[in-house]
Structure formats: structure tokens, C-alpha cells
Symmetry: none
Subunit: 226 residues, 4 copies
């Protein structure tokens, strides 16, 4: 994603140790001092790494953070299946899978669309409060607003895969007759996802379980009286 320039460095000789240290430093700094005060020099110093090692492999601090956050997400995702296996057979299964990494695990399909959405959105609300997750995503989102190239990459690699899970679930609901057949799932999901995203990103309102429940209700049943 960031290499393969003309005279690109030889990635087979790349130091795994440094890469990990850079990821860790970048994420930690964004959490601790915020994105604007996080500098490449600061990341290098904290990672115990030369600046050039960063410039060799990435093009900007946003690039570094995007990869670092991607890596964090993958780690988290890889961690969940194990939990799921370990926890198999016991009560509260959905609760469990909701809490962390539900995104890449798919949305539960109990046959009751409204219930499934409420569950997933409640889990998302909880997740949005984890600063280890919040600080970097806000930072990347902010950078993306003003830097279209990065913004599109952020959406493509992080956001869209999540949204696809909603598309799948909605399509399944459509087959089950719970959603109008003429509805485009990619648009439909925005009715509940975007309001939550906006409230979170722009502080336009409080984020609670009640709120997301309401969103699901309004979106499924419509604002107009039946």
C-alpha cells in the first residue's frame, strides 16, 4: 500500500520489530496526546527507531496511523473467534460476540431483524467509548475529511467491510420478507448507521442504547403512520 515506488526498499529485509514498535507508538501517542500533537519525530523517538525508517515505509503520519489501526483491528478480529470457541455452548453468546469484534464476525441472524440490529448497534455504542478505538478512528476520520485520497482508503479498508455486514443481513431479511424487496440495502443501512456515526463524530447528540433502539424502530417502520 505504501511501498513499490520506483526505487522502493526491499521489503524482505524489513524489520518486523520496528514495524510493530511504530504501530504501538503511533497508537499510544494518539491516545495519550491526541492526533495533532502526535508527530513523526515523536513516534520515531517512542518507538526507538530512526525517522528514516518511518519515511522509508510510509508517506505520512496518517498513513502510519491507518496501517497501525488496521493492524489493531485485525488483531482484535483474530482474537474473537478463539473467545467464541471457548465460550461455545454457554448462555449470553450474542452478548459476548457483540462486545468486541462483532463487526468482522458478521451480524447475528436470529430471524428477527429488529432484534439483531438493536443488539449490534448497542454493541457498537459500547465500543465507541473505548479510547483505544476512539482516538485513532476520530483522527483518521478527521484526516480523511480533508485529504480525499486518505479518506477513500479509510472508507475502503475500514468502513466499507463493516457496512457490508449490514448489507448481507438486510439482504437476508429481504429474502425472509422482513424488508421491502425494492429497498437497496446499501442505502437502507445508512438510516441507522449514519445517524449514529454523526452523533459520535460530531457531538450532535448523546449516544445511548435507547437512541439506537429508536433508530431501528424509525428506520424499519418509517416516520409516517401506518
Amino acid at each position: 500500500m505504501a511501498s513499490n515506488n520506483p526505487t522502493s526498499p526491499d521489503s524482505t529485509r524489513r524489520s518486523e520489530r520496528s514495524r510493530r514498535a511504530i504501530y504501538d507508538a503511533a497508537l499510544a501517542l494518539v491516545v495519550e496526546i491526541g492526533y495533532p500533537k502526535t508527530t513523526i519525530e515523536g513516534i520515531a523517538a517512542r518507538a526507538g527507531v530512526g525517522k528514516q525508517t518511518i519515511y522509508r515505509w510510509w508517506g505520512s503520519k496518517a498513513d502510519v496511523l491507518l496501517e497501525a489501526f488496521l493492524d489493531l483491528s485485525e488483531q482484535a478480529a483474530r482474537a474473537v473467534p478463539r473467545e467464541r470457541e471457548e465460550g461455545a455452548g454457554r448462555e449470553g453468546r450474542e452478548e459476548q460476540e457483540g462486545r468486541e469484534g462483532q463487526e468482522s464476525q458478521g451480524i447475528p441472524d436470529t430471524g428477527d431483524l429488529a432484534a439483531d440490529l438493536r443488539l449490534v448497534l448497542r454493541a457498537t455504542v459500547d465500543e465507541l467509548r473505548d479510547p483505544r478505538f476512539e482516538a485513532p478512528s476520530r483522527a483518521l476520520a478527521a484526516e480523511g475529511l480533508v485529504n480525499e485520497e486518505l479518506g477513500r482508503r479509510f472508507v475502503a479498508t475500514l468502513l466499507e467491510p463493516q457496512l457490508q455486514l449490514y448489507v448481507d443481513r438486510l439482504r437476508s431479511a429481504q429474502e425472509a420478507g422482513q424488508v421491502r424487496p425494492d429497498v437497496d440495502p446499501r442505502i437502507a443501512l445508512e438510516l441507522f448507521v449514519s445517524p449514529l456515526a454523526q452523533r459520535w463524530l460530531q457531538y450532535t447528540g448523546p449516544i445511548t442504547h435507547a437512541y439506537t433502539d429508536t433508530l431501528v424502530d424509525y428506520a424499519l417502520n418509517g416516520l409516517a403512520p401506518r
Copy 2:
């Protein structure tokens, strides 16, 4: 909003000329070279103003831009009523008022909620493409994501007043029986406003009149079959 610090400067002595020049320079630079490359030194130089004059009255470049954009919006709003009077009596009235400053003018109330919303959202779509408007709002939104204090000010002074117009229109529709009486208008409006906002800000999808029409349909009638 930005003065009244301890030992604050005497605002009666303030140079109106400089303030205007700073607003103009800030907006122009954000449009021309982008927010990150816009610097306080650059604004000062372009405005023909000393740096200290900026630091005396504002705390950061985001502060400057927020006020400048606010001022721009007010100017635009003040310009519309005149246009409306001049254009009174002719066809395409709504088109006209939709194009610019429809926000502060209130949402039309023809009795047909769906039609009114479609109209307003189409006008918004058009407006979002004006770079004089787009560049500063993206910049402020981006800054607000990562700087909560500014984010809240951005929302309170720029966003919320716009949203209130939707609240009013939805309440009127409720009274007319076109919206479920148990619906909270402040949440309801997010069903169509937030998706549009997200697509625009985060490049998560194309923005067209067809898209906003669809949003209105889904939101009013719901995703579930009737």
C-alpha cells in the same frame, strides 16, 4: 466568542478593515490551497495584516475560520430575502430559495412533507458542491472531530440552527397527521440528514438527487413492508 480573555484587548478600538481582510484571506486560502496548508502567517500576509492582529483576536486558525465562515453564512442569509422579494410572483420560486440560503429561510410547508423534504434535500445536494462552501465546512468539520471544544461550537453555531428547521417542519407534519405522533423530530431528521452528511463528508457514496429522494422514501415509509 473568542475575546474576553484576561487582559483582553479593547474591542471598541478594533479595526473592522483588518477583520474583514482576515476573513477573506482565510476563506480564500482554504479554498485555494486547502486547510492543512493554510497557515496563520499565510492568512496574515494575504490580509496585509500583522500576525499579532490575528493572535490578539483569535486563538487558532480554526477559530478564525469558524468566525469567517459564520460571517460568510450570515452574509449569504442576508442576501437571500432580497432575492426573494425581487423574484416574487414568478415561477420556480422554491427552486430559487432552495439554491442558496434556504437553510436560514425555513423549509417550505406545502402540506406535502415528502415533497418538501425532497426539494430541500436536493437543494442541499446542490449547495454541497460549491467549493466556497465545501472547503471551509470540511475543514471545520475535520478540526471539530479531533478538537471537541471547537466541534461543539461548530455544531452549536452552524449545524444545529439548520437542523432546527427540520424539527419545525416535522412537528408541523406531525400536527397534520403525516408523521407518527410518538416520533421525536430531533431524531427523525437524522434518518435523512445524517446519511447525506456522511456520504458527503466521508466519501462513502455518490450524492445525487435520486439518492436523497430515496432517503426520504425509506425514512417516511420505513424499510419493512406495509
Copy 3:
């Protein structure tokens, strides 16, 4: 000294109060924080005076300080005669007049040139240690090194009048046959005055009564054996 510009201000309306306050502030600041950190703004603030009042009457902070110091010297000189009258008739007369302001009072003439010079130089040594005197003179001397116009004014108004006293005393000694008749007193005085000045100004050596006594000896009797 610094006024009478083209459109010079009307000095009859000048505020005596402000002038005194400016002198006091300038001298105090030079003593307390040093000449380089003394600023016109600082002087104005401390004197409770507008900056323009300083710029109206003086051309630079060196100008202010020069006048302030001149004023201080005159005050000191005016104070001594009174002391002398009060102390008339008692022993230790020379001691007394040596301590302060001996400069403008003339050099004692007891008939013994060597003794008189030793006395006066010892008194000067003592005076050089008073910080109220040292700080401003160093400052003015320093400024004068690098600003010829001010340097010459400094010499003409402050230094040369002092040196003239030595010229007078040496001439008197010449008449008494204690100094070679072919000697130019204006040059001769430099043999003991300049070494002391240089040691003081440039920290090239310690300044003691023994040192000045030695200077007088070497200067009068010569370095070569008799």
C-alpha cells in the same frame, strides 16, 4: 538635545511629571534588569506614560538613558556643595569630597600632585562600584562603542568635563614645576585615567586603591630607571 525636529512639539507644554518618571524608570530598569532587556515599552509602562510621550521627546532608548543619567549626575553634583558647606572646617575634608561628586567639584590642589591624584583616583575606584552609577554608564559606553553619534555625545557631555578637571590640575602642576613643561596635559591624563577605565569597562584586571596608586607612580616617574 533630541528635539527641534521639523514639526517639533511645543516644549512649553511638556509634562515635567512625565519626564521625571521616565528618567526614574529608565535608570531603575537598567539597574534591575540590565540595558539590553530594558525596552521603551517597559520604561513607558513603569513610568505610567504612553509610549508616544517617549517617542515625542527622544529618539531612542539610549537617548533617554543618556539624558536620564546626565540629570542624575547634575542632581548628585548639586548635592555635594551643600555637604561641603555643612562639613567645612573639620578634618577629613578631602575624604568627604572624594566620596561623591568630586568630579564636578574639581581636583584638590594641595601642591602635591601625586597625593592629589592618588586621592581622586581612589575616590573614583569607590564610585565605580555603585550600581546606580555603574549600570547606566556601562550601558551608555557600550551603546557608544557601536553608535558613533551617541558615543561622541556621551564623551562630550559626560566624559570630557571630568577629564578637563585633570587637565586643569596638571596645568597647575606644570606651573609649579612638578610636570615637564613639554607635556600635553590632555594626553598625560590618559596615562592613569585610561588604564583604570579599561580595567573597569572590560574586566581586564582588578581595580584597587593599590592599583591606582601604582598607576600614579608609573605615570609620574616613568617606567625607565632614572
Copy 4:
């Protein structure tokens, strides 16, 4: 002399090129526009160097100038012996060595103290008129008056070595019976050096060969009649 701060930079990596360019720029600016108008930014710009490169290695513009001038003196001193060899055997030898760098070359010892001193002081008078030499020394002297630390460094590194040459010559004269055995050479030299220094630095009188000849006469033979 100016490095070895806490967390000092690695002087082995220092750019010789930049150092030379900074010396040249500093000296040139002091000559061209004067010391007070010489700024660190100006030096950096003229040297084609980042400001930080100056701040990394020096603490102030006076520091820079002191080192630059020291370097210039050493260069000059290194240049003279070659000239002397080249010029060996021809007339006007002393004239030659007097003109430049006589200081570090030692004072001639022809056996005639008066003649040797007259020669050296005349050469010094000539040298004091070279603006490449005058501007920086005045500047450093001025700074030293008001900044004791720098003043002492100026004296120790530049002035005192010169004075030591006089001490040596006077001691030799003492051994030859041309100077009173009880005379302290370090003080004695001030009788002719300090007057010249003061006239030069403070514009207290004209500087000519006749003047320095007179100083030598007065100092050696004394003011009192024999």
C-alpha cells in the same frame, strides 16, 4: 567553548561547510550593516543555513561573532609567517610584519625598547582602521561591556594573548636594565595600550602615529621632570 551543553549535539557530525559560511556571513554583516542590525535570521539567510544550525552550536549572536572573529584572527596569524618567509632579506621587513598579525608574532626586540614600542603601536594604529577588523571588535567590546560573561571571554581569548606579548617585551627590557626592576609589566603596558584603546573605542581623541609616539615617551620617561 560554546558546546558541551546538556544533551549537546554530536560535534563529529558537524558540517564544516556551514560553520565557515556562518562565520563569513556574520563578519560580513557586521561590517556592512553594523552589529545591532545584524540578526541571527540574517546570518542564517546569508549563510544559506537553517536558523537551528546556528542555535545548535552557539548561544547568541555575540557567541557567533566571537568565534568568527577568533577564527579570522587565527587565519590572519597563520598567514603572516608565510609572508615573513617570502619577504625575508628585503627592506621594510618590520613594516611588513607590523602591518598584519604582528600581535601573535611577538614584539620585535632590537634592544631599543622605545623604538620597538613605537613601531608596534604605529602598526596597531594602522590596523585599527581596517573595517574588517574594526567592526567586529567594536561589536564584541560593546557586547562585553554589558554582558560580563562574554566580556571576560573576549578578554581572555582575544585581548590577553596580545597583552602578554607586551609583558614579555617589557620583562626583556627589565633584564636589559631599560625598565625599573620594581615595575609590574602587566600594569606598565597599560600606560600606552589603554590610552590607545580608549581613544579608539570611545572616540575620546584622534589616533595618530604622533600620538602613540608621545604615549611611549611619557610612559617611559614619566611626566615629572628628571
